[in-house]
Symmetry: C2
Subunit: 479 residues, 2 copies
């Protein structure tokens, strides 16, 4: 039986024109003309035809989430781990299966740190008894001794407060950084930036005054029992003390109880270890430009993740949309004039060596990177495009702006960037990001909750679609 | 111990100014001046101060979700049911507890329909055996006989296809409308509008050719085992036949199997009933205008829901943000010049009698409704404001547009509306809607999945915040 999706004749004809072979043929002719002449700019009308093709193919399936499932099925992909190398292997296979024009890896030297056995955290109080608390070693932290470590607790909410208390109060204690993310900020990343400083710099700041360990409130708006890990660093010249994150529900409880029993002691046992540098890889796949193959429009996510979860939002999502964007462009029969390249970076979480290795690799000789888009804010519904630094660029790309609106992205403004593309941006490449809704992102981020089920397949696919259009536009128009 | 949330001095001072008592005092003075003179317009600067106050109070807690939990704890609130009346009672109590200036109910006559016992759906095939299928009676449908109904199946995808098959094929059969929502449309409501026509009009369309029942594919992008109900209507002069929705996973399976075994028969047993008209209520609470109390800026959601779930997104969310918006305005000490009124309508799902009763109630005499905002697209993160019909209005409200951007709503355009406010709009009142992300909405809509856990507390709260600012702006500025 033939299927007529609309009963109204006019609508049916429009539907037919837009979503089936007629559009494909007309669209192909227009686009073929356009890609055949690099001096012809992509008008809004032509770009809309491209968008309709990408949309018909892109939204009829949810391939981005399928790719995400392939990566997350490996589990946590901590930089330098066998799982991270398995991810490298699978990403190469995937891009080859999708028939990208070139697929290869480039070496990256990364530090390998392992969590070891599951951490033990105990609260000991004469008033409240002994209770388990949910802690996780922060990435890069040293371990406690094998016997563990026990000490009294000092709660602080800022570095200034720590300084004020000084050695007299801090010495021999565990410092408990308990500053919540500021939920009155609209942008969760702003709130995260403020809160994460205690995770990153807290240990050395506390060690300066003789603390024996730090326990840092997890960076999330939610109150739950899942510790959120993340990178911490040691300042040279100061003692290196163990650092753990504590779940927000525990942080709230400890803070409450500490007011009633200031003598509370905390026992911590961690067995994380530095295993030294190992060689890992960035994974790269491209659709080679038909006119200017050495001019690159790049999109990147990162293959590594933290080890507490399969890192679905952070950043299997970014890798998945990068791969899916290239697949969409290819499978729509679009031939980019400049090279569109997906780079799945290694080691974003643990130092950003992948981004630096890519930018300085010998293979970069003779290549010119015009634009690098980094997708590393989770798999939420896309809201807008942040790109470049000048109003002139925004004026120039107004056809893209208007067509992105039709895909539900209502703004284009200057901005964009990320850890992995920063070295390219330093070399003069423009930055970009398809900015998703991030209101839920820190619910999952760096914790056991960052699982594939937390990523909505259609929202992720919309991100891939907007990305495909943006990459294709810049591949034709340049900067 | 004092808490210093920032270690950087400049940031700390700014923080202090914006989020604490200083801002409160300065802000109050400015706002007091402004509300004291109705000829003074709310400049962007003044409105930003209002927004900061609303934000500090509004985002520090997630009250909208607390209100949503109060409503959803009642369970499904089908119009005319005891649960719907319990919702009326609790909504009145809530608004009174929040000290709104006036709280009252107005009567609405609604049809009471009950689902009766859980429906039975069986697929019977010589090839595949007998299998349970997940069905739910459509709202307003008649029941099968007590023995149930069994017949062969004809799958169609459009009314045109149905017409083409005609009585010869259809007579004595169950018509299976299996047209999926068009996932290539960016706006899920567009796709819903297309698919829902089979739910609404399918029974009569099929009865015209002698069908004995209809089974309609659930309107959702997801493939799962949850039937989505919703209103259906009977065309006068045609036989009234039972109508059920079927879960998408079952629809896919049945369609596949039907190709291999066209003799498949379906057994359906439903026991739904019309219990005739009963009196229910709209619930109304307001902050009475200090200058023009008879000029109304209205915000509405609907108290009734379908019975398969507690209707968290549809539309406890709308009720919750309406109440929370008024609470925020009140608890920030803002005194609206015009009346800001929250109306929790009864019977949106089953005929819209609540909206009509409100618009035509004797209490409306002497009142002038300038703007009615309807929130009935779920509790997703707010994306923009759709309001009014003219570019002139958009020009006029540019301060609101710019301040909404600071709250993360990047667009204001003409539009807005809904079933409940349609009768007011017909009388000349402008329409508005804070438009949320709806990409996930139909995953839950009208099914057992529409539970409080499906609504993100912070996203809902952001909707209430944007709503509060918008209501307050229009209460001061008029239209």
């Amino acid at each position: 039986m033939t299927k007529h999706p609309k009963s109204n004749l006019v609508l049916r004809i429009l539907y037919f024109l837009l979503l089936t072979n007629c559009c494909w043929l007309f669209g192909s002719q227009l686009i073929a003309k356009e890609t055949g002449r690099s001096d012809t700019s992509l008008t809004e009308e032509k770009l809309m035809l491209v968008a309709n093709r990408l949309k018909s193919l892109g939204l009829s399936e949810e391939k981005a989430h399928e790719f995400l499932l392939q990566l997350t099925s490996i589990g946590g992909r901590l930089t330098g781990s066998p799982q991270a190398e398995e991810a490298v292997k699978r990403a190469v296979e995937l891009m080859k299966e999708l028939n990208f024009d070139r697929v290869w890896t480039e070496p990256v030297t990364v530090n390998r740190w392992v969590r070891g056995e599951k951490e033990i955290g105990l609260l000991k109080s004469r008033k409240f008894g002994q209770q388990k608390i949910n802690v996780a070693a922060l990435g890069n932290s040293l371990a406690t001794t094998e016997e563990g470590l026990e000490a009294g607790l000092v709660e602080v909410h800022s570095f200034r407060e720590l300084e004020k208390l000084g050695e007299k109060v801090i010495k021999g204690k565990i410092v408990f950084f308990n500053q919540p993310m500021d939920r009155t900020l609209i942008n969760p990343f702003m709130a995260y930036g403020q809160a994460a400083q205690f995770r990153v710099k807290g240990a050395s700041a506390a060690a300066k005054y003789g603390a024996v360990a730090v326990m840092v409130r997890s960076a999330t708006f939610r109150i739950d029992e899942h510790p959120h890990t993340g990178l911490m660093t040691y300042e040279s010249g100061l003692p290196k003390i163990p650092a753990v994150s504590v779940a927000t529900a525990d942080a709230e409880k400890i803070s409450r109880w500490l007011k009633e029993d200031p003598e509370i002691r905390i026992f911590l046992k961690t067995s994380c270890q530095q295993l030294g540098p190992v060689v890992s890889h960035n994974v790269i796949g491209e659709l080679t430009g038909t006119k200017s193959p050495k001019e690159i429009i790049l999109v990147g996510g990162h293959l590594d993740s933290w080890d507490l979860s399969p890192g679905a939002h952070d950043d299997a999502a970014g890798c998945a949309v990068a791969v899916e964007a290239l697949r969409l462009i290819k499978d729509c029969g679009l031939k980019p004039a400049r090279t569109i390249r997906a780079v799945l970076f290694m080691d974003e979480e643990f130092g950003g060596t992948g981004g630096r290795a890519y930018a300085t690799a010998p293979q970069r000789a003779g290549e010119k990177h015009l634009l690098a888009i980094e997708q590393d804010q989770g798999g939420g519904v896309p809201l807008g495009l942040a790109v470049g630094k000048t109003p002139e660029l925004l004026n120039k790309i107004s056809p893209l702006t208007r067509v992105l609106q039709k895909l539900g992205l209502h703004w284009v403004k200057n901005g964009g960037g990320g850890v992995d593309i920063a070295p390219l941006v330093e070399q003069g490449c423009l930055a970009g990001t398809i900015v998703p809704n991030t209101q839920r992102y820190f619910d999952f981020h760096h914790s056991a909750l960052d699982v594939p089920e937390a990523v909505h397949p259609r929202e992720l696919q919309l991100q891939a679609l907007a990305l495909a259009l943006t990459l294709y536009y810049f591949s034709q128009e340049g900067i």
